[in-house]
Each structure stands twice: as structure tokens, then as C-alpha cells.
């Protein structure tokens, strides 16, 4: 079985994000990390590939930088990676991103495509469905559990008040929520092996995709900020201040 996992490198959320002058695009340093939400997709992909005598290919679009985020996913056990990087793709919207990813996935071939539900830095959450439409495949989204049967895939799909069991035939696209599986930490051997694994770099020309992002950010303004109120150090009696405020707000 051929498993493809979509992954994204993002600026470390622990450092404050900044925007580029003029374009208002997110500043992307050379050092980016693997989006935490992608670790679940990689782990799920590894488990399914292993159980079904398959291979796992990573597909990623965006400025590669030093590609250490991609190496993180390779160190977890993925077999190889495809990175699509092109100046014309800077500031791409979700539609363009999905077209490019779909073209790379089609070129590679697939039985199952796995993605996170949304990236931490862009969080539109529409890419898995867009990918599926381009690939003419069904999309099973927000999976909390994934099971491969004989040419089929079944998931528990998160809903507002529980979950639905949803099934379809392969090939398919599945988006996974955090918690679908417990992602492994790369071992030392995994990290060493990752350095030797194939990483293919592609451009738009290689894929023959034409792009035209229609969306742009026109301005950034400060939002009406909520003023910070009173801050007190707990001296053993601070809970009284909470009781008083709850009384004042008529909660108690």
C-alpha cells in the first residue's frame, strides 16, 4: 500500500510570529519545525504502512529552509520526502496549495493520503477536501481512529456531539485529529537514518501546475485590545478575591 502524508514546516509557535512588510505574509525563517499536528498523521501513516506492507512518502510545499522539520518526520520512519518549493508559490492560498500537493501526490501515486485537519500557522482546514476533489477521491475527515480493510478505509469521524463511523473504498484522503495515535519520538538511529533518506525537490515547472492566487491581505490593524486588570500574588488568601469578583458578577 502506498501511503502519502502531507506535512508542513512552520515557524516555531513558541517564538512570536511576524509578518513581512508589504505582502503581510508570515515570516518564515530557515529554521522551521514540523507542525505538531502533522506528527499524528505521520505516526498514523507509519502504522498503516507497516501493517499493510506499504511505503510512506512525505509531501510538503513551502520554503524548505534547512528542511529540519521534514527531517523530523523522516526520523520518525517515513521512507522519503518530496518538497515543492517555488518563488511563485509564496503567499499561496489554500486552493493553489491543494492543487500543487495534489499534482505531486498524483505523480507519486497513492492508495491513501493522510493530512492533519489544519495547519497551526494557517488553519483554514479546507486542504484535505480540496485535495480529495482534485484527486477525484473521497475525503474522510477529522478521524479519531483509522482502520484499513480489504480495499476500504473506515474512520471514527469527530462530530460536535460524538462521532460517526464512516467508510469508503480506497484510494481515499483521510484527515486526522490530534490524539488519533500517540506519535513516536525519533530514535537516535532514526535521526541518523533520516540523513540518508531521499529528499526530492520539485518546482512548479516539474509539476506543470499553473497558479493564480486571487486572495491578498490588504491591511493589518491593531484590534481593540482587552486591557489587563488586577494581578495579585497568592499569599494564601487570593481565592477571596475570586469569591468577591464572582459575587460582584452575580455568579454566586
Amino acid at each position: 500500500m502506498k501511503v502519502v502524508v502531507c506535512v508542513k514546516q512552520i515557524p516555531d509557535p513558541a517564538t512570536p510570529y511576524t509578518l513581512e512588510e508589504g505582502t503581510h505574509w508570515l515570516t518564515r525563517p530557515d529554521d522551521q519545525i514540523l507542525d505538531d499536528t502533522d506528527r499524528y498523521g505521520v505516526e498514523m501513516g507509519l502504522q498503516l504502512a507497516q501493517a499493510n506492507e506499504g511505503t510512506l512518502t512525505l509531501v510538503s510545499m513551502g520554503p524548505a529552509g534547512n528542511a529540519q522539520g521534514i527531517r523530523q518526520a523522516l526520523a520518525m520512519g517515513a521512507d522519503k520526502a518530496i518538497i515543492i518549493e517555488d518563488d511563485a508559490l509564496r503567499g499561496s492560498d489554500a486552493l493553489t496549495t491543494s492543487k500543487v500537493l495534489a499534482a505531486a501526490i498524483e505523480r507519486e501515486g497513492f492508495d491513501l493520503v493522510i493530512a492533519g485537519t489544519e495547519s497551526t500557522d494557517g488553519y483554514s482546514g479546507v486542504i484535505p477536501q480540496m485535495l480529495a476533489e482534485h484527486l477525484d477521491a473521497p475525503a474522510l475527515t477529522y478521524a479519531k481512529r483509522v482502520e484499513i480493510g480489504d480495499g476500504t478505509v473506515t474512520i471514527d469521524r469527530q462530530t460536535d456531539d460524538g462521532y460517526d463511523v464512516v467508510a469508503t473504498d480506497l484510494p481515499a484522503v483521510v484527515s486526522v485529529t490530534a490524539g488519533v495515535v500517540e506519535p513516536r519520538y525519533p530514535t537516535f538511529k532514526g535521526i541518523m537514518d533520516a540523513k540518508k533518506k531521499p529528499v526530492e525537490h520539485l518546482t512548479l515547472d516539474d509539476l506543470g501546475v499553473e497558479t493564480s492566487s486571487d486572495q491578498k491581505v490588504t491591511s493589518i490593524s491593531d484590534a481593540a485590545e482587552r486591557a489587563a486588570g488586577q494581578k495579585i500574588e497568592d499569599d494564601g488568601e487570593a481565592f477571596q478575591a475570586i469569591v468577591s469578583l464572582l459575587e460582584e458578577r452575580k455568579v454566586i
Binding site: 479546507v126 460536535d160 456531539d161 490588504t218 493589518i220 495579585i232
Partner: protein, 315 residues
């Protein structure tokens, strides 16, 4: 007058609250058609009318996963009727349908918007970024425009309009893209619901362990509050995903929000910063949560919370 379509999902035999929020906005932009996904009933259609829909396109996907068939049907109908704008909520099925539809139509999706305006050039949307500290305004010029609106961006209010005209939207066979819903599970939930509770008590990693979350539950019980959580402890498996407040979880707007052991990551703040009063307890005096808290207690949650619970119990 512009034609605006609004996607609305049926929940418990009624239009979802999120859908009614979108209608409140849509009726200020143009003539509104509600695309209603569910079993449907005269009562449900009447509610859509009261909230501003002059017509309803009713689709029932039965045991099929709706995104594929609905996107196909909508793409055809939109080609015939040319709505300028289609609004969706930032919610599970909404995102699925919008994404699939956008790819089919070859247009973009403006996601996570907090407001939307039609302009001479096209469409303009506002987006809260960096935890809501800044607003980005985006634009697009190739319609039809598909916009995903965050929950609680508008208040769901009836407009006192009459019954809408109702038309059925037939869903086509989508062949290999078809997926079936085999079973549905509803998880039992007790007490006030996170989305509409007046008081919310939420916990984060500062609780120390899954057991520490019991303190949050005890306090919530005393205040008849709903319980919430950060993405970090949901990811860690301490509490179910349904409790998650933030960018990737629920957006809440309670009268009072009590953040316990929550540092205040951007992704959390954007889901709760519009609460009436925010109370935060955290041991790190520099935690970002204090910048939005009306009352901040710098202290150990495992000391302050038991004291607070005891004080409330003895009242």
C-alpha cells in the same frame, strides 16, 4: 440586490445556532437563500424565514457523507443562479463542503473570517490573527466568494420575516468519491454545554496531570459552569476533544471565564478573549493569559483551587 447563500446544518431537528448567526449577517448583505442540510420540516424552514432567509434550498444526504454530493449539487446550482457570496461557519461539515466546493469551482476560500463585506472590487473579510491582538483584512476579486465565518462573530436574532419558499436540492451520485456513514454515536454530556454556558471553567497544562482536571470539574459544579480545556491537554489525552477551547476548538463567549493553569497561547486566546470577565490562575507571572485577565492570580492552582472550592462549598 446581491444574492447571498448561507450553508446551515440541521442539529437536533433545528437549524444550528451557528447557521442562524450567519443568517443575521447575510440579511444585511443581500437577499438570502439558506442551503439547509438535514431532514427538514416546516418548523425548521419557518425558523430560517424568521431569521432572514427568503428562500430555502433543502438537501438531505441521508447516510452519505454530505461533502462530496452536496458540493457537486451546489456547484451546478450556483452555475445556474450565480450567487455572489456563500457563507459557511468555521465548523466540521461546513469546512468539508466549502473546501470541496471551492476546488470544484476553482475559487478560493476565505477562512476564519470574523466579518465580511461585498465591495465594488469583490469581497473583503476581516480575520483575527495573533490571538486576536491584530486584525488582518483580506480581499478577493474572482467570485463566487466562499467565506468561512468563525462561530460567535454575529448574534443569532430573528428578523420577523415570513415563511420562505422551499426548493429541494437533489444530491447526485458522486461515484468513487462516495462515503457512507455506517453508525452515529452521541456522547452523553451532563451539565451546561460549553458553547452556550454563562460560566466556563477551563484547565490547561498547569494542572499538572489528568487527575488535576478533577479540580476544574469540582469548581465548575459549584458554579453551574461548563468545563473547557486547552489544546495541550486535549492532545495529551487528559480530556476529550469536545472540551477544547481555541482556534482549533470551540469559540466561547461566556459572562465569566475562569482559566486554570492556562498560559494563554495565541491559539487558546482567540477562542475565549471575548468573555465578559476573565479570571486567570497561573504560577508564571509572565504568562500571556494575564494580559487579557480582569483578575489574575499568580499562584499554584493546586493550592488556590481547593481553597476556592471549599469557600464556595461552605456558602
Amino acid at each position: 440586490m446581491a444574492s447571498v447563500w448561507v450553508f446551515i446544518e440541521e442539529i437536533n431537528e433545528r437549524p444550528s445556532v451557528l447557521g442562524l448567526e450567519l443568517l443575521a449577517k447575510a440579511r444585511t448583505v443581500g437577499d438570502v437563500t439558506a442551503v439547509y442540510l438535514g431532514t427538514g420540516s416546516d418548523e425548521a424552514f419557518a425558523v430560517l424565514g424568521e431569521h432572514g432567509a427568503s428562500s430555502v434550498l433543502h438537501a438531505d444526504s441521508g447516510d452519505r457523507l454530505p461533502s462530496g454530493p452536496l458540493a457537486a449539487a451546489l456547484a451546478d446550482r450556483m452555475a445556474a443562479e450565480s450567487p455572489e457570496l456563500v457563507l459557511f461557519g468555521q465548523a466540521y461539515t461546513d469546512r468539508d463542503v466549502a473546501g470541496r466546493l471551492a476546488a470544484r469551482l476553482g475559487v478560493g476560500v476565505l477562512a476564519n473570517a470574523s466579518d465580511v463585506r461585498l465591495t465594488d472590487e469583490g469581497v473583503e473579510t476581516d480575520h483575527e490573527i495573533f490571538g486576536g491582538s491584530q486584525t488582518a483584512t483580506a480581499s478577493a476579486s474572482n467570485g463566487p466568494f466562499l467565506v468561512l465565518i468563525r462561530p460567535k462573530s454575529f448574534a443569532a436574532e430573528a428578523a420577523g420575516k415570513g415563511a420562505p419558499s422551499v426548493d429541494t436540492l437533489d444530491l447526485p451520485d458522486v461515484g468513487v468519491s462516495e462515503a457512507k456513514i455506517v453508525e452515529s454515536h452521541v456522547e452523553e454530556r451532563e451539565g451546561p454545554q460549553l458553547g452556550d454556558a454563562g460560566v466556563v471553567v477551563a484547565g490547561g497544562r498547569g494542572l499538572g496531570s489528568a487527575e488535576g482536571y478533577e479540580l476544574v470539574e469540582k469548581l465548575a459544579k459549584q458554579l453551574s459552569a461548563a468545563t473547557g480545556a486547552t489544546r495541550a491537554i486535549v492532545d495529551a489525552g487528559w480530556v476529550p476533544y469536545a472540551k477544547q477551547v481555541g482556534q482549533t476548538g470551540k469559540t466561547v463567549k461566556p459572562d465569566v471565564y475562569i482559566a486554570v493553569g492556562i498560559s494563554g497561547a495565541m491559539q487558546h486566546l482567540v477562542g475565549m478573549k471575548d468573555a465578559g470577565t476573565i479570571i486567570a490562575i497561573n504560577k508564571d507571572p509572565d504568562a500571556p493569559i494575564f494580559s487579557v485577565a480582569d483578575l489574575g492570580i499568580v499562584g499554584d492552582v493546586n493550592k488556590v483551587l481547593p481553597q476556592l472550592i471549599e469557600a464556595l462549598e461552605s456558602r
